[in-house]
């Protein structure tokens, strides 16, 4: 798979950002780039605005917990271009002791709830998010349930009727 020439997306990304693109692959036709989290907003802005790329549709954002690896967490962005009809997957590793990454809401406003979900489920902090509250669980919930070290049998106390 590595022998194939790089797609235009990955080619332009590596040309533009160099060492900030940690790794790329196109296994099974899925263009994927692992990037450094410090430049995620710049990279996303470039992906959206470059006339050859035009990733105007941010389809998904989610977190992954690689418990035992370092850095532990990963934020995954799935992007699609309605104009060019191509896709790319951007990944950024985030360490456990400082689980912070810049919010991409300035780039795609629709990422608001996805980031809240990733915060809710994994405890990832999206810097400069205007409203980083839990979205699926309730306010009193303790912990982040999709983390691999969240005990399966753990039960939360039931909350009484809300005022």
């Amino acid at each position: 798979m590595t022998d194939k020439p790089k797609s235009i997306v990955l080619q332009k990304l590596t040309e533009r950002f160099g060492a900030d693109i940690v790794a790329t692959h196109s296994d099974f036709g899925d263009d994927t780039a692992l990037v450094r989290r410090e430049r995620i907003v710049e990279i996303c802005t470039y992906l959206r605005d470059d006339p050859d790329l035009l990733f105007d549709f941010a389809m998904d954002l989610t977190g992954v917990d690689y418990l035992g690896e370092e850095p532990r967490f990963e934020v995954v962005y799935h992007l699609f271009s309605l104009e060019k009809k191509h896709r790319v997957r951007i990944k950024a590793r985030v360490p456990e002791e400082d689980p912070v990454i810049d919010s991409v809401i300035p780039v795609w406003v629709g990422m608001d709830w996805f980031e809240r979900e990733a915060y809710d489920m994994y405890g990832l902090i999206f810097r400069d998010h205007p409203n980083l509250r839990r979205i699926l669980m309730y306010e009193e919930f303790e912990g982040h349930p999709l983390r691999k070290d969240y005990p399966k049998a753990r039960r939360q106390p039931t909350v009484g009727p809300q005022e």
Partner: protein
């Protein structure tokens, strides 16, 4: 109740206790409130529909206001976020009231052994009748209503009167 008959066999008058008379009236006018959150709700609709026709047991007046209902039918999965809502609805119901936990999820959490689902609504509110099944068939809902009718008739204490259960 004892019915005294006239000479021609027609019932003339009857003697009874007030409680028995009241219970007789209550048992044939159980107004259910359905709290349907999952697939059990579809079976509830089947039970209320023309084929199974729960009206035969006097329970056809579905009240979507807890203040007018006698029986709370919790049909479906209740998670921690929904629990306060259900509890408030239960608190709003007027006495006397009965609670039916319908299906595996409402009775025990079902196969949702996870962070978000309450492992049975009896973790936070009293339950009179449990209906097993995933989902239960409409006959089982009818059976639950008949069981509640028996409870009313015999004056069996409701779960609320034994709440909270101490083990």
């Amino acid at each position: 109740m004892a019915v005294n008959r006239e000479k021609d066999g027609a019932p003339g008058f009857l003697t009874t206790r007030f409680e028995a008379m009241l219970a007789w009236g209550r048992k044939y006018s159980i107004w259910p409130f359905t709290f349907a959150t999952a697939c059990c709700g579809i079976e509830v609709m089947g039970a209320f529909g023309t084929h199974y026709d729960i009206a035969r047991f006097g329970a056809e007046v579905i009240r979507f206001s807890p203040r007018q209902a006698d029986m709370l039918l919790v049909a479906g999965t209740v998670n921690y976020k929904m629990a306060p809502v259900l509890q408030r609805i239960y608190d709003q119901m007027l006495e006397p009231k009965w609670v039916v936990a319908m299906g595996a999820c409402a009775s025990s959490g079902g196969f949702y052994n996870n962070y978000s689902v309450v492992q049975g609504i009896d973790k936070f509110m009293p339950v009179d009748i449990y209906i097993p099944g995933c989902p239960p068939i409409p006959e089982q809902i009818i059976d639950a209503i008949v069981l509640i009718q028996k409870m009313i008739e015999t004056g069996e204490p409701r779960a609320r009167e034994r709440w909270p259960i101490k083990i």
